[in-house]
């Protein structure tokens, strides 16, 4: 496999994980724009653990994810009462706060960033994790928990009225998104080998939000395939040279006009499942 292809697939994989981290809280109705901050926590933690303590790669990444998840739990509570656009701002601010903190935290490199991170991320461990995510969340979505999350997204008041503990599930999904972003950060750090706070800014967050929404947030396939498509798109547009990104913008625009729910929506997945898997799960 060529180096170019390998790099491409690694980038796609990491982006998939991050887009997924946006999708998880989104499926419970929370738009979190702070995922880049959680990614940073995961990245720096994992990198420091492998660099300074010589911890095995997978454990380091997991630790990074867990720390992000923990912070996700803590910040998930104040996020409970905030709605919609205001939550976007709060999480955006949170992400920025994390980034600025890391920028000034000399112990992890400060302005100069962290370099010399061992290149431990490979296609196997990366895609194994993605596979795990897909399997676990498929099961979650098809279960009672999936219904609960959907109910919370559709109508919080009624969900609460039907006995659903909003606090528990909202904090859990928020922290889950943070955890996944942290894992993505850990993988990123051991791929890029050098990280600095500028890697984890608003641009990153917006990018992964675009991947997820473009792909479609009704099903977990949306963020996965949407990310793949949008990461590959600039490559496919290379023949256009300077007009490459111009066309990229237009494709984004066109897709949102043509398929406002995202490229992949529930009915598409049901249709595909019906054709290929014969019997549908639901009756």
């Amino acid at each position: 496999m060529s180096y170019y292809l390998q790099t491409l697939l690694l980038t796609i994989g990491i982006n998939m994980i991050l887009a997924f981290s946006f999708y998880v809280p989104f499926s419970a109705g929370m738009i979190s724009l702070g995922q880049a901050g959680f990614m940073a926590i995961g990245a720096y933690t994992a990198a420091m653990l492998t660099l300074k303590l010589g911890l095995p790669f997978l454990w380091a990444v997991l630790a990074g994810g867990c720390l992000s998840g923990l912070i996700g739990i803590v910040t998930g509570f104040p996020a409970l009462r905030i709605r919609g656009v205001y939550l976007m701002l709060m999480t955006l601010g949170l992400g920025e706060a994390i980034r600025v903190f890391l920028l000034n935290f000399e112990y992890v490199g400060g302005v100069s960033g962290l370099s010399g991170i061992p290149p431990k991320t490979n296609l196997t461990n990366l895609y194994a994790f993605i596979f795990l995510l897909v399997v676990i969340f498929s099961r979650i979505n098809a279960s009672q928990i999936g219904r609960i999350i959907e109910a919370i997204r559709e109508n919080e008041e009624a969900a609460q009225g039907m006995g659903i503990n909003l606090t528990k599930y909202k904090v859990l999904t928020f922290a889950g998104g943070a955890f996944i972003a942290g894992m993505g950060g850990g993988f990123y750090a051991h791929y890029a080998r050098f990280i600095e706070s500028a890697n984890f800014g608003i641009g990153q967050t917006l990018e992964l939000m675009i991947f997820a929404i473009f792909g479609g947030t009704e099903t977990l396939w949306g963020p996965i395939l949407g990310t793949a498509f949008l990461t590959l798109l600039p490559e496919w547009l290379r023949p256009l040279q300077e007009w490459r990104m111009f066309m990229y913008g237009l494709v984004l625009l066109a897709m949102m006009v043509l398929r406002p729910k995202g490229v992949i929506d529930k009915s598409l997945v049901r249709g595909v499942a019906h054709k290929f898997c014969g019997q549908k799960k639901n009756d």
């Binding site: 009672q144 928990i145 959907e150 559709e154 008041e157 009624a158 039907m162 006995g163 503990n165 859990l172």
Partner: protein, 259 residues
């Protein structure tokens, strides 16, 4: 025994008092009507009972237990559930999912169980829940449409789905907020029957409705509210003749049979 006892309950928002010193007692197994002109505070009472709102003063007791400070979802677990005036279904979920999600399901808290893949146990519980949900849908007459998306249902069906969903929580006290609003006479008939059948199943019901005819038909006791204050309470016959009640309605609606 009294299922619900509200004592001197007052709720004010800023300068506006929604309900004031309300006393309400609901006997077990009864269908209790709650009527009054628009803005009388009926839905506010429901919100206070379910815990969405907290009273400024007074207490609410359910089956002898004080509900003070108890969060809404915990009250549902105790057995209080409601439907909504403006239908709050989970629109993009299927009819079946709407009901299934409301079921108190042991698997809910077993998030870890999901990760530790034991598909067999989950499948059996899932099947039981699905069957029970199906039975509930059958009860309200929506079994055939169980895989339809909730938002695609006609209006009357949506109201019935809300009731099925509320019943899924295994309520002892069911609060119906204008279940017949927007229905014509023909559509109300099956709803009346449904409410009676719910009472057969040992649930106590409080119904908010504007159709006095319907209320007097199905309710055992009626409480009349106006401007947040209870102005009359008693059997349907005496309520219909009560001068205070008639006066309260003259300015807002005609007393008697609705269209």
């Amino acid at each position: 025994m009294k299922t619900l006892v509200m004592t001197d309950v007052t709720k004010a928002f800023g300068g506006v008092t929604a309900v004031s010193n309300v006393r309400l007692e609901v006997e077990e197994g009864r269908i209790h009507g709650l009527v009054g002109p628009n803005g009388a505070g009926k839905t506010t009472l429901f919100n206070l009972i379910t815990g969405v709102l907290t009273p400024n003063s007074g207490s609410i007791q359910f089956q002898g237990r004080n509900l003070d400070g108890l969060k809404p979802h915990k009250r549902t677990a105790l057995g209080i559930c409601r439907t909504y005036q403006n239908i709050k279904l989970f629109k993009s979920a299927t009819v079946l999912d709407n009901v299934m999600v409301a079921m108190p399901y042991r698997m809910r808290s077993a998030i870890l169980q999901l990760a530790i893949k034991s598909p067999f146990r989950e499948i059996r519980e899932e099947k039981e829940v699905r069957e029970r949900a199906g039975a509930l849908l059958d009860f309200v007459g929506l079994y055939e449409k169980r895989n339809h998306v909730a938002s695609a249902l006609p209006f009357g069906d949506q109201r019935r789905l809300e009731i099925a969903r509320a019943l899924a929580t295994k309520p002892r006290l069911l609060l119906l907020d204008e279940p017949c609003a927007g229905m014509n006479q023909a559509e109300k008939e099956p709803m009346v029957r449904l409410i009676r059948e719910i009472r057969e199943r040992q649930a106590t019901v409080i119904v908010i409705e504007h159709d006095m005819g319907m209320i007097c038909q199905i309710c055992d006791v009626i409480t009349v509210l106006n401007f947040g204050v209870v102005i009359a309470q008693g059997l349907p016959d005496s309520i219909q003749k009560d001068p205070l009640v008639i006066e309260a309605y003259l300015g807002d609606e005609k007393l008697g049979y609705d269209e």
